[in-house]
């Protein structure tokens, strides 16, 4: 007897609490899965040659939750990974702390590699989340971001004196 396929399971959350990658792995996996992929985005100690002490994340929480859920759902439906788990942390994070954890579990590996990659790339394109770097010298600056698609907005890189190149981060 071949066991029944496991149902799809999608989880998305914006939280101020520390993220737990081990719990995410355990939560996503079912007995039908032969591949379990984990991506962790963490705060690093440098940006463009400057020493960074920490990062402060801000979000449009209600919308970010909806967008994150949509992204996870797309990864499941369009890329065929049945179990996608993603959380994004906001608030103040120290060096080495996880800002985003993504897990995909699927019977075979290809779908999960694709799903995890898709989720992090879409987060960077359209999740309404912002981050401010806190430098060792006491200054701080918003990290330059990307204009989300679907708005008709002119491309606009946030201008600050600490302005950095587009598309960087986790």
């Amino acid at each position: 007897m071949v066991p029944e396929p496991q149902p799809a399971r999608i989880h998305a959350r914006i939280t101020t609490e520390p993220l737990d990658a081990a719990a995410a792995l355990a939560s996503a996996r079912t007995d039908a899965d032969g591949a379990l992929l984990l991506f962790v985005g963490v705060v690093r100690n440098h940006a463009d040659g400057r020493a960074v002490m920490g990062m402060r994340y801000d979000a449009y929480v209600d919308m970010a939750h909806e967008v994150l859920l949509a992204i996870a759902g797309e990864a499941a439906e369009e890329l065929g990974s049945p179990r996608v788990w993603v959380e994004h942390r906001i608030g103040r994070l120290a060096i080495g702390e996880a800002s985003v954890v993504i897990v995909s579990a699927s019977p075979h590996r290809q779908e999960s590699f694709d799903a995890v990659r898709y989720v992090i790339e879409e987060i960077k394109k359209r999740l309404p989340v912002w981050k401010k770097e806190e430098y060792v010298d006491g200054q701080e600056g918003w990290v330059a971001g990307r204009t989300p698609p679907g708005t008709g907005a002119a491309d606009d890189v946030t201008r600050t004196h600490e302005s950095v190149e587009q598309g960087r981060g986790a």
Binding site: A64, G145, D156, T158
Partner: protein
């Protein structure tokens, strides 16, 4: 006739606005682009708001041509930097 929308500002746009939230009264039939112009003409930090910022209406990204209705929630979205 007029309508009032609730505008939200985040990150660098909140720094410009000096507030997270502002009710704005507009003419009936106003679109997002009219709201942007109204805010830019108020002077102060908001005069530095881009002419064509990214906006979400009721938590969905929307074009500048989107018509607005009473009590719409219009969020000004600086370039996003999650992850």
């Amino acid at each position: 006739m007029s309508l009032t929308v609730r505008t939200l500002f985040f990150a660098s746009y909140r720094d410009l606005a000096g507030t997270p939230e502002l009710p704005v009264e507009l003419e009936e039939g106003a679109r997002v682009q009219d709201l942007v112009r109204t805010l830019r003409e108020r002077g102060g930090g908001l005069s530095e708001l881009p002419e064509a910022p990214a906006v979400a209406v009721n938590r969905r990204y929307a074009p500048l041509s989107r018509p607005l209705a009473q009590d719409d929630e219009v969020a000004f979205i600086p370039p996003v930097a999650g992850g």
